[in-house]
Symmetry: D2
Subunit: 364 residues, 4 copies
């Protein structure tokens, strides 16, 4: 394994820095015979792309992905798939003033200490730009999961700062730049964000991702349980500080009689578990939540240190997100897709011959 | 890899069911020359052991661990270490009545569907009994981390149901059976648990683990970031439904100007990040929280289904925990230790020659 | 991964030293529902066991294996299988005189330098005793491969020193203690070995393993090609210095027109390739050869060095094999079985849905 | 892991087909701070490149490699390194006539059966073209091994068909297009190859790779022994059918008293072991040999089958190697470099603190 790879049978390995030549990835283990083209990947890349909302960063990257291998006459061959996105709009000059300063809340200091040097332009490898590749790879997984298995993965913003979605209207999600499912709060959101941008500060967010149609049986106890793998994938997204499955931290104050999802041959009567029991998918919708911290790249001055160990003040100008959560929805969906894909393959590797007499049940 | 292994350079692989012959594990990659004996492991096993508190399950397992290999004349040899714990008190008869019934909130149904059959006795491989081996392996890691690197890992219960620890007094943690750090709440805890046991119900809990002395630089971006690996390890503990690093879900409502930890040559001025920046340890204390759901093994009757697909009622009698969180503290510490150990080795594999001119800073 | 594990979806991890408490292993990823008992494993362990031939080492280990987990009511559960063999006949006193001396041709010196210390008794972890666990794990794989897929794996000695098997009579293999398939050479073999034992010296051997019934399609290009994985598994057996697939080194002097196996709808007309083309099984018998060096534990004195760096003379007394190749046949079969098992699972993980219109052909 | 990756701490993952858009790879785990540029990689790529000898294939690929990430201001950053080579001279029309025919001795049939479809142009992913990426990645490893550790890796052809190198003159290796170290045989080689090319047939070859300056202690018993890993890497090169370490198959007829390398404080007195004892490097030169089969792409007609299962005749025209061994020397060196790099990192991950009092010895 390696830190830049994820997965065991469906493996995604990425490379690329914010201001490097290009971003790329290799997908290994994709089943053959799946129709795949750049267009399949571009949709989710566009959803993630900077510049698609007046509230996200102004960096304009077309993020045009190219498929370099593993697809022949429109179908996957089963060999490794190489994807590439050339960086075009880097604006290095935005960062030269912080070449020797560690921005508080960023990875500058830790990368410097770990490696002894760092590509300081735009956060280098630590930049969220790198996630474009995860979205591209996730799109491959999403396509297979949906077409072959009817699995759908949908994310949305459940909370932005103090504003919470009270109702979940799936139709709304793609209708506004926030991936927010509650139309009644949009005006408040807009106003909140306008004020935030003026203040030069930022805010955190909470996202929710739901996967439906997931067959029962995915997950590899005891260490690669499906919930553990989802937590690994989501916590690995830049700025994430918390992950929940199902009721998450609300379970702390729940009684056992309240929490457990009763079942009957007709199905489960509730879904406190979030679709995973004993680390294995139950057939119910998988529900995960993630908390994203507010970006530290703000124009509010902050104290920091230089690489030589002297006090310095940091003010970040240029292109930044007041709420990184807005762009993270496609990334979170992609990571869930990658995990489910890997576990679909791992499960069938071992259990392809299994026949259970017990009827399969879903949500009632 | 495999679902029953965790780690890349320091690898722990376990086996064993609740009512099987024995539990065991293999630790691979432990540095040689470390003094190790059964006594080193027994301490944490005893902290985890059932029967050490009037509120935990009454199953009396001595959990005596044996070292079968990898240690010669009292020191690790660098070869694989085999550990074994024989099961002695299984009381299979407690479970025969639920042979064909799926207990709601448990892994019975999912294991049956995944594998086509299951060891129904006491939860089989899904039982928390299996975690004894993680604690034993974690003790090996803990010893090395502390002796060679001065790293300490301490867990405690920060919240049990509605009762929250307001002050953290480290001395208190090992003084009561709850690993609770706030003496002023002990009486309330005791009373709460007594009422709970009478009701036959259960409650959730929130734990906190703090690792100090962790050097800067651990973590392997972008997928094996230290926070992602901690999330993977903690979410993989039975009953865990949520994981946080640092401020966790509180970041959703934080401004960037509040969240970021300012720094100076004297050190970091706060620790909202929980000791990890950009997925790499910063040298500050690593702070993680986990939410454990209330156990579903309660005497309050619940509706369920049989293996043949018929409605059934489940009432669990016998030995059960009203709060599994009480025993999970040593398990959470062990998992953090295993992750830190693996990452210490992975970091030095690649970066042993690195010399950074930037001074190392910690908490101010 | 780790050095003491092999495989990706069917993973075998072992522990145990020659003179330690016990040998053990964990098998992870075994499909569930397979009938398995100790008796299934004991047969191959007995074939490997010292003391079954007057020409192999006199150490008398019963090698009784116990299954500690992963099997319930006689069937595998899909959870990790723990196996254990307690060491009983160690005779440590045989080795105390070489505590500080590095035996030439053995791993003493290299283990000392790598780890800084070593268990000097009987070769410690480097001893061939450790292979008992590989044979036990291989027996699990062999059973599944044969019962579910009709795959058979048979090894034999093709050459012992200057004596070569001219004819391959499968019936002969289990009839003599050499696993030698040519009855006409048995008397010569016997005499050769008697003289060898008297001289106190040792000799090398060449083994051949044939796997039949292997379906077309196993192997994961470009690095985990089936031949590469077989080479890895066989070269990893103690004393092996060479591995060949099919015609092996004879190909150096072959013309392309001679080497290539022509094909027709009726089948392949020859098998120079040894059953693997482009790193993937072709459906033809897989043929592998391995060369085992003569053991260096002989009573002929040899010059060496002490741990303190002084000249010393080494004479090994006690129980030793004049030809380690004799016992390696079951080990080689076991390793082939483990590799085929892993690749069967890996192949179906990715390609379970594949349907090829091309007819499958085998040997004509 | 995945079939298109090799290594655990220094990981190389590749993609790309013979006639696809591009070839690429990702190197993960390279230590930071190493000076690296395209020029460092181009040298070995040119040694491998078609068209550099009148006896190798006439396909003219400039094989210009680009570094897309992981290098900043001329030094590796420790983040993943992406490399890319665009395919320019594909001549697809050379292969259209064999779209539905399986060429005997090639991977056409096995790829078709494994994946259900295949990129038939030039062998697709099975083509030796893919090895360009291994050479590029190997060059990165070679540079680090040499500069930081003084390790040198040199390969040569020891035998081409019936012509064997009797003397090894290192200076000769780069002076002729055969990488042949015996000047006295060059005329015979030239004549042999001329006749072979006229006949339209091909021949096999045996290569030798020697690595010097390898520190004692590399290799991870019991499964990832250094010799096993070398065997895995070399057998994974297209056309390889046999691998030997040290004396290889000659050990079959050696006595123990002849084979073992005696040692004294001054050093080892011989090197039958080929530099590896007990699966761990001894500090002596590591010597490996590999046998390459004659290519099956020859103009001598051969019988085969079509994808529909009918008899067909195959005649390969166009650009082909009469001896693929000629170009495999840089590939074999690269694979050894990749394995040594990975093991250097794995060894220090676990054993960085080890101090052995025993003096280190090399060849006498």
């Amino acid at each position: 394994m390696s830190g830049n790879s994820i997965g065991q049978n469906f493996v995604v390995t990425t490379f690329g820095e914010s201001h490097g030549v290009a971003l790329g990835c290799i997908i290994d283990g994709c089943p053959p015979g799946v129709a795949l083209s750049e267009a399949d990947l571009q949709h989710d890349l566009d959803r993630r792309r900077p510049g698609t909302s007046r509230y996200t960063t102004a960096r304009r990257e077309p993020d045009a992905v190219r498929i370099l291998s593993g697809v022949f006459e429109g179908k996957t061959t089963g060999t490794s798939i190489g994807l590439l996105i050339e960086n075009t709009d880097q604006r290095s000059k935005d960062y030269s003033n912080i070449k020797d300063i560690f921005r508080p809340g960023h990875a500058d200091y830790t990368y410097q200490q770990k490696y002894g040097l760092r590509d300081y332009r735009g956060g280098g490898r630590a930049s969220a730009r790198e996630t474009a590749m995860r979205v591209a790879a996730g799109a491959v997984a999403k396509k297979y999961l949906k077409q072959i298995h009817g699995i759908e993965i949908n994310g949305f913003m459940s909370q932005l700062g103090p504003i919470t979605a009270e109702t979940i209207d799936v139709e709304q999600i793609e209708q506004n730049p926030f991936f927010f499912p509650d139309a009644s709060k949009l005006e408040a959101l807009d106003e909140y964000m306008r004020d935030l941008k003026k203040s030069g500060d930022s805010i955190g967010a909470k996202l929710t991702v739901v996967a439906t149609g997931v067959p029962v049986g995915l997950g590899e106890p005891v260490f690669d349980r499906l919930d553990a793998e989802i937590a690994h994938a989501l916590m690995g997204i830049n700025a994430v500080k918390g992950v929940e499955i199902g009721d998450g931290f609300a379970v702390v104050e729940q009684k056992g009689s309240e929490h457990r999802d009763l079942m009957s041959p007709k199905g489960f009567e509730s879904n406190h578990a979030g679709g995973i029991l004993g680390g294995i998918s139950s057939g119910q919708p998988i529900v995960a939540h993630l908390a994203l911290k507010p970006t530290s790249s703000i124009s509010v001055p902050g104290q920091s240190m230089t690489a030589q160990g002297e006090i310095a003040e940091v003010v970040t100008k240029g292109r930044h997100d007041p709420c990184v959560g807005i762009r993270a929805v496609p990334i979170a969906e992609a990571m869930i897709a990658i995990v489910l894909m890997d576990h679909l393959l791992r499960h069938r590797a071992q259990n392809m011959d299994v026949h259970s007499d017990t009827p399969v049940i879903g949500m009632r």
